[in-house]
């Protein structure tokens, strides 16, 4: 039995090891300063980097987090603290449906409501699409984390003369904070790798751009374009970009772990 479960666990982590190993094999040799600091060179030439995609991903995911985290965390706190009624049920249901919605549909939604009326692709539209994915994800994990706080702590605060809102914020949410931050980071890591919603919204850009109202490059889009392109040089860069993306997600997950380990931690 133990051996079987052990084998199954090994099977579960095997893909990650394979992916990671293969990416290092294929991409690590292309990771140099030029890769991180330069923009692409014209097709056919060798060299160049993905600085524009790294900065673009940073801007798009940053914007999405700026909108998505506060709204998601707020909704999660609402669900845990006041979500026992019909409104809570509705919000929870909508969040679950959104969580199950394929991200490409969210992309089409953002295209229909932002890109088409505006008449042009933009990083902003991509950020909105990612935020829409992020909000229900963060709302549900926040709710779970807040619910984990023992009821006795809430009662202790109320018995001390804490008003209800202060009990929620400075005792219950404060106690759950490490878990909430962890959930937020995991959510951000998840949307950082999303490709489909960006295809219809930020489109991609071969040049360096920081204008959120214009098309912008992002790492997943760069990988998509380079990997499906005809040039070996592009393939090489795609492998390297994939490695950077997975390292980014890996890093966020590690930070999340560290925060979670400090749960109930002290200063």
């Amino acid at each position: 039995m133990t051996a079987l479960v052990g084998m199954l666990s090994a099977l579960a982590v095997l893909p990650l090891i394979l992916i990671f190993g293969y990416l290092i094999l294929k991409g690590a040799s292309s990771l140099n300063l030029e890769f991180f600091l330069s923009n692409p060179v014209p097709a056919g030439q060798s060299g160049g980097g993905v600085a524009h995609a790294i900065v673009g991903s940073g801007i798009i995911v940053g914007l999405a987090a700026l909108v998505g985290l506060p709204v998601g965390i707020g909704a999660g706190i609402f669900l845990a603290e006041y979500g026992s009624g019909r409104l809570g049920w509705t919000v929870r249901f909508v969040a679950d449906v959104l969580n199950g919605t394929p991200s490409i549909i969210i992309g089409i939604f953002a295209w229909t409501w932002i890109v088409r009326p505006q008449g042009h692709f933009s990083a902003f539209a991509g950020a909105v699409a990612l935020a829409v994915i992020l909000i229900p994800l963060v709302a549900r994990t926040t709710e779970e984390m807040v619910r984990l706080v023992p009821h006795s702590l809430r009662e202790a605060a109320l018995a001390l003369g804490y008003p209800r809102w202060r009990t929620s914020l400075s005792i219950v949410v404060r106690t759950a904070l490490a878990g909430i931050v962890t959930g937020g980071l995991v959510g951000v890591a998840r949307v950082a790798g999303e490709t489909a919603p960006l295809l219809f919204t930020t489109l991609g850009n071969l040049n360096f751009s920081t204008h959120v109202t214009e098309p912008m490059q992002a790492l997943p889009l760069q990988i998509y374009v380079y990997a499906t392109g005809p040039f070996p040089e592009w393939h090489r860069l795609a492998w390297a970009a994939s490695l950077v993306l997975i390292l980014l997600v890996f890093g966020l997950a590690l930070v999340a772990r560290r925060v979670a380990a400090n749960r109930y931690g002290t200063r």
Binding site: A157, L158, L160, G161, Y162, R166, R174, T175, L177, T266
Partner: protein, 249 residues
């Protein structure tokens, strides 16, 4: 009479947990509330600081007079009531994200006590709870690093810091080992010089050791209320006698 209930009925979803309890609680004395599980003694206690109404489906009828004012009267703020009537729970409930100091100061911050007075009040409260000597060197350490008995005394200090008039204790020692229990009991006897204490307990020996008055609850009714010495030697009701002699409960 400092604290009194008049025909106090408390319900959960319409089902009464205590029925028409009228009881006067003497100031600067310990009143024990005893009775078998489910008799309503904890519910009674939670009516005295308006905590019962926070329970799912909890409603209250009748009056609870604190210094002559009905705490369920119109215009009385439950939050203000809870600042005047402190509470200690069965299990220690230190706030896990706060240091020992901040735990004691928690109620002060929410009451808007000036920062410069806080250190002095924290020290006094910890001393009152007989914990100062054990924690004075690690006030800014985690409250969770304390033992169960220390955590419970920390919770007592936290409740005392806001200078309540009444201290409610819901089986304050039932989660503690005998030595820690003894310390909490000694503490209660010291505290009654300054506070009115109402303690719910499962432990009859504890009630007889520490309390001056005892109320016996059974099936939601206050069966008997008397001086502890008299109740334990010469109960007037057959059910009380049966309970304290261990024939049920």
């Amino acid at each position: 009479m400092h604290l009194a209930t008049e025909r106090l009925t408390a319900r959960y979803h319409g089902r009464p947990a205590i029925t028409e309890v009228s009881l006067g609680i003497r100031p600067r004395a310990i009143t024990a509330v005893i009775g078998p599980s489910g008799c309503g003694k904890s519910t009674f206690l939670r009516c005295l600081n308006r905590m019962h109404e926070l329970s799912d489906g909890g409603t209250v009828e009748g009056r609870v007079l604190l210094d002559g004012t009905d705490i369920y009267g119109a215009g009385v703020d439950a939050v203000q009531v809870r600042r005047r009537v402190g509470m200690v729970f069965q299990r220690p409930t230190p706030f896990p994200t706060m240091s020992i100091y901040d735990n004691v100061a928690a109620g002060l911050r929410v009451n808007g006590v000036a920062r410069r007075r806080m250190g002095e009040i924290v020290e006094r409260s910890l001393a009152q709870a007989a914990l100062w000597d054990e924690v004075k060197d690690r006030l800014h350490g985690s409250a969770l690093a304390l033992s169960g008995g220390q955590q419970q005394r920390l919770c007592i200090a936290r409740a005392l810091a806001t200078e309540p008039e009444v201290l409610l204790m819901d089986e304050p020692a039932s989660a503690l080992d005998p030595l820690a229990t003894q310390r909490v009991e000694e503490l209660m006897v010291t505290l009654k010089q300054a506070y009115t204490i109402v303690v719910v307990t499962h432990n009859l020996q504890q009630a007889s050791r520490v309390s001056d008055y005892t109320g016996f609850f059974y099936l939601g009714d206050l069966v008997e209320f008397d001086q502890t010495a008299r109740m334990f030697t010469n109960p007037s009701d057959g059910r009380t006698e049966a309970y304290i002699t261990g024939r049920f409960g």
